[in-house]
């Protein structure tokens, strides 16, 4: 879809080493979430969602995944939202 509104963000999710692959697999199944890289206990993900709110809702579910200890936001682009 050419001009769909989208907020794109990237995060580093940190998980217990023993569980990092399982966490990455769970993350990859979530809608709008893509896993790009696993580096030690760190997982690089992006979220594409229709608003910052939807993005936040998705990211706040990460902490419930067993093994996840931390969710860090690195980048968020909300130009579709603020520029209307």
């Amino acid at each position: 879809m050419e001009n769909e509104k989208v907020v794109i963000s990237s995060l580093v999710v940190e998980a217990r080493l023993a569980e990092v692959e399982a966490v990455a697999a769970t993350l990859a199944q979530m809608e709008g979430v893509e896993v790009h890289e696993v580096n030690g206990y760190k997982i690089v993900v992006t979220i594409e969602a229709s608003s910052t709110g939807a993005s936040h809702e998705i990211s706040s579910r990460f902490i419930q995944i067993p093994g996840v200890l931390n969710v860090n936001l690195v980048y968020v682009n909300f130009e579709d939202e603020t520029l209307g």
Partner: protein, 847 residues
């Protein structure tokens, strides 16, 4: 978003996150915001910023396009956060663009409408400023004791500096205090009493280097997300790292703890004293460190509670700061009653757990970092508990060393930078100077170019925050200006401060509120001044690790909203019209270097104005810039350059610097580990120690700002909380902050999705208590203390898990004003209220 743009944005997103995770995908996108590449990809203009929300002070790169902020990125060059933000970063733009943003000055004509959302009409800036300035000037001329300014740990540094200068030098009034009194005052008094300098010796990098974390009364996972992330990262990187969570209830922070030590509210001093006693009795303290660096004292005891208005002036209230030197043996004897058993009896913590914690401090093969926040500070003995933590660390030689220290965490973005370093308190002047000390007044007069003795008029401290609002509610204040805060939600005992129903004091007073959104406080305002927010103007914050960082202006403020500094200048100009200082126009004398009164405009861009004010402010810590100040500094041995700040531009180039910042071969180098000997290039305090300290002392540290270079270990006894559960009020009630909402929610609750994530303030309860009271999740209950009452919804699935007999609620929600219930009893030394231990009853509301 168009597809090409979308794929560009996405690859940027991946590259940035990969870089932050030290991964391999960092190179696959152009990150530069300039040049042909940028133009083709639709990039905006990027500026350096700092997050608006909390005291961690994370760096962000702000991108703006067509006058709006369109993206934020964790700033990899910011030494505090190194490219990471927490999820609150999602709302940095939303906070600017809430629908009800204030964009025009508002005036209330009919005081009878106070306390309602109505009654404010639009006005011109001239009308609003004339009205505010007229009221301030009338009050000032009639009775200076009846005016007040309530500032904030969110007011950027140069604004706070100018406000303090206007209040202290322009109006000769000490009735100025910040909301930081509600969060950091106990930490400040602790620092001053122990070290004679208000600053943490350590830095955030200690988190990356320690072996054992001890969190005391701190919910870092919710309140300091980025630092908690560093804590868990440290644990993940090394499985031998341990975390002890010493707390009154289980919180999200407990998730990373190897052991959660849950103690009875108010018994923390008994535990800390038992640890100190154990170290001495078992000869597990650091003899060399104690011999080289510590002096022992005891102070006034049985100090009662500052609940009644007359406390400060009572005999005991006047004696609370007194201390006397004692020997080590006498100190040990004072501690002797604090056996593990006695502490266990008072705290409910098993003897073995207290012993295990004591052994952690005793084991010198591992580094230990204590971290604490509001559980310690918002305490009827908050200052004492700060003392007790330093006592342990100083006894076992764990202070000011990398990874081995005691670190007081800060809540607000610039509670350190503005409230503390600038000194917007009722008893302070800039840079740790205090009004009571004649040498400090002389030094300030020199920097501000005031006649000798001019500031003697303000040698007596003014109203601290609780006193200010007690006076307001009693009709003792005629003019209040409140900026960057929301007193009608955040003050304790709102039942009292909102007038106990008759609102007389508040109705009679003239209240000016500078704000970005309507709040409960604007409902009590006579005039509302719409303010520019965050990156709508340039500013600087000072975070919890002594780091000063500038956020550049990125976009214009909406409508007629203005920079607070402009409002201040315009009001000061009107109030000081016709006044003189040293034979010169008073306003020009104080502010003429950066403001043209006739043109009603700044002399230069935001950058030039901030730099000009900064240069004056940094004279306080660089006495060589002013010969008179330099002479006083030498003569009175003030050591002002011990807190040296760098020229303004350095902070922008370096994305923030931790003070003291030293000039070495034309370069300005920050200090990470204060009082710790080592190379300045590596972050140690080389030049401070060379100038004032001593090499080769135990631990390689030298506390050159402390009296006799020895910090004070002061014996502080356990004394009970101001209230204890009774038949009438059987529960402890604790309040605090949760991740999604920040403080009173005036910014974060504008963001609808954030509000949805945490829509309502819930009362977290223990299931056993619920069963006993016959309430379940979702029931409404009435919480009542001897101060007031508030209705709230019960939850057993909330963020915190209080033990039986204790309940918790966050304070962000204006529709659930939990502060109606909270006591306004404060720590007698710091005057910081105890928000954590009000006793309440809970009744189900049938219906």
């Amino acid at each position: 978003m168009e597809l090409t743009r979308r794929s560009f944005v996405k690859s940027t997103a991946v590259a940035l996150a990969s870089a932050a995770a030290a991964g391999t995908l960092a190179g696959c996108s152009s990150l530069a915001g300039t040049g042909a590449d940028a133009a083709a990809s639709g990039e905006g203009v990027k500026t350096v910023g700092v997050c608006r929300f909390c005291g961690c002070g994370c760096g962000v790169i702000v991108e703006a396009k067509d006058g709006k902020v369109v993206s934020v990125t964790g700033d990899p060059e910011n030494g505090s956060s190194r490219g990471l933000n927490c999820v609150k970063g999602y709302y940095l733009a939303g906070a600017l663009y809430g629908e009800d943003r204030l964009t025009v000055p508002l005036i209330r004509d009919d005081k009878a409408t106070k306390g309602t959302p109505d009654g404010l009409r639009e006005a011109t800036w001239d009308e609003a400023l004339d009205l505010v300035a007229g009221k301030l000037r009338d009050t000032w001329k009639a009775d200076k004791s009846r005016l007040a300014f309530w500032g904030s740990g969110q007011q950027p540094i140069v604004e706070g500096y100018c406000t303090a200068k206007f209040w202290k030098a322009g109006l000769l009034s000490n009735n100025i205090d910040p909301n930081a009194r509600l969060c950091m005052a106990s930490a400040v008094v602790g620092f001053m009493n122990v070290f004679q300098t208000d600053e943490p010796a350590g830095c955030y990098a200690d988190i990356d280097e320690t072996d054992v974390f001890v969190t005391w009364g701190a919910n870092m996972a919710e309140a300091h997300p980025m630092l908690y992330s560093r804590l868990t990262a440290r644990k993940l990187a090394d499985s031998a790292v341990r975390h002890y969570d010493v707390t009154t209830m289980t919180t999200r922070t407990s998730a990373s703890a190897d052991k959660v030590i849950t103690f009875r509210p108010g018994s923390d001093i008994a535990i800390a004293n038992a640890i100190a006693n154990y170290l001495i009795v078992h000869d597990k303290y650091d003899h060399d460190f104690v011999a080289d660096h510590v002096q022992f004292k005891q102070g006034t005891e049985n100090i009662g509670n500052a609940t009644d208005d007359g406390y400060d002036k009572s005999d005991i209230g006047q004696a609370v700061d007194n201390v006397e030197p004692i020997t080590f043996e006498a100190f040990a004897a004072r501690l002797a009653p604090y056996t593990l058993e006695y502490a266990s009896e008072l705290s409910g913590v098993p003897v073995e757990d207290i012993q295990e914690l004591a052994e952690v401090f005793a084991d010198k093969s591992r580094r230990v970092l204590s971290l604490w926040t509001m559980g310690v500070n918002q305490h009827n003995r908050g200052t004492w508990m700060n003392h007790c933590i330093y006592n342990i660390h100083l006894l076992c030689g764990r202070y000011a060393l990398p990874g081995d220290g005691a670190f007081s965490l800060t809540g607000q973005p610039t509670a350190c930078g503005t409230a503390r370093e600038v000194g917007t308190f009722s008893h302070r002047l800039p840079a740790d100077l205090v009004v009571k000390n004649p040498d400090h007044r002389r030094y300030t007069e020199a920097v501000w170019d005031l006649p000798n003795g001019y500031l003697d008029a303000i040698e007596t401290p003014g109203y601290h925050t609780v006193k200010m609002f007690r006076e307001l509610s009693k009709g003792g204040i005629d003019f209040l200006w409140s900026a960057h805060n929301n007193w009608a939600v955040s003050m304790p005992n709102l039942t009292r401060f909102l007038g106990r129903g008759d609102l007389k004091g508040i109705n009679d007073a003239f209240i000016c509120v500078a704000e970005v959104y309507p709040t409960l406080s604007t409902q009590y305002a006579d005039v509302v001044l719409p303010a520019a927010m965050w990156v709508e103007r340039e500013g600087a914050f000072g975070n919890g690790e002594r780091r000063t960082a500038v956020f550049e202006k990125a976009v214009d403020a909406p409508g007629d909203a203005k920079w607070d500094l402009w409002m201040l200048m315009e009001i000061a100009k009107r109030v000081l019209a016709g006044e003189q200082i040293g034979g010169e126009d008073a306003f020009d004398h104080l502010f003429g270097a950066w403001y043209d009164a006739d043109a009603a405009a700044f002399k230069g861009s935001d950058r030039e104005v901030c730099a000009s004010i900064w240069e004056e402010y940094r004279t306080f810590s660089n006495p060589d810039l002013n010969p008179d100040a330099a002479a006083i500094n030498t003569e009175a041995k003030l050591k002002m350059e011990a807190k040296q700040l760098a020229p303004y531009e350095e902070y922008i180039h370096n994305h923030g610097l931790t003070w003291p910042v030293r000039e070495v071969n034309g370069q300005w180098l920050p200090t990470l580990w204060r009082f710790c000997d080592g190379k300045q290039e590596d972050g140690f305090d080389q030049y401070g120690i060379e100038a004032y300290g001593e090499h080769d002392k135990a631990g390689g540290v030298s506390f050159y700002k402390s009296a006799d270079k020895k910090p004070s270990v002061v014996f502080r006894p356990w004394e009970p909380p101001a209230e204890e559960p009774s038949d009438e009020y059987p529960f402890w009630f604790c309040t605090g902050r949760l991740l999604e909402h920040w403080h009173t929610g005036s910014m974060t609750r504008r963001v609808p999705e954030l509000d949805r994530a945490l829509p309502e303030a819930l009362l977290d309860m223990n299931p056993a208590d619920c069963e006993r009271l016959g309430v379940t999740d979702g029931d409404r209950v009435r919480v009542t203390s001897r101060f007031g009452t508030c209705d709230i919804t019960v939850s057993t699935a909330g963020r915190t898990r209080p033990p039986a007999g204790m309940v918790f609620a966050p304070f962000f929600a204006e529709e659930t004003l939990v502060n109606l219930v909270v006591q306004d009893t404060y720590c007698p030394l710091s005057k910081e209220p105890d928000f954590k231990k009000t006793c309440v009853s809970i009744e189900k509301i049938e219906g």
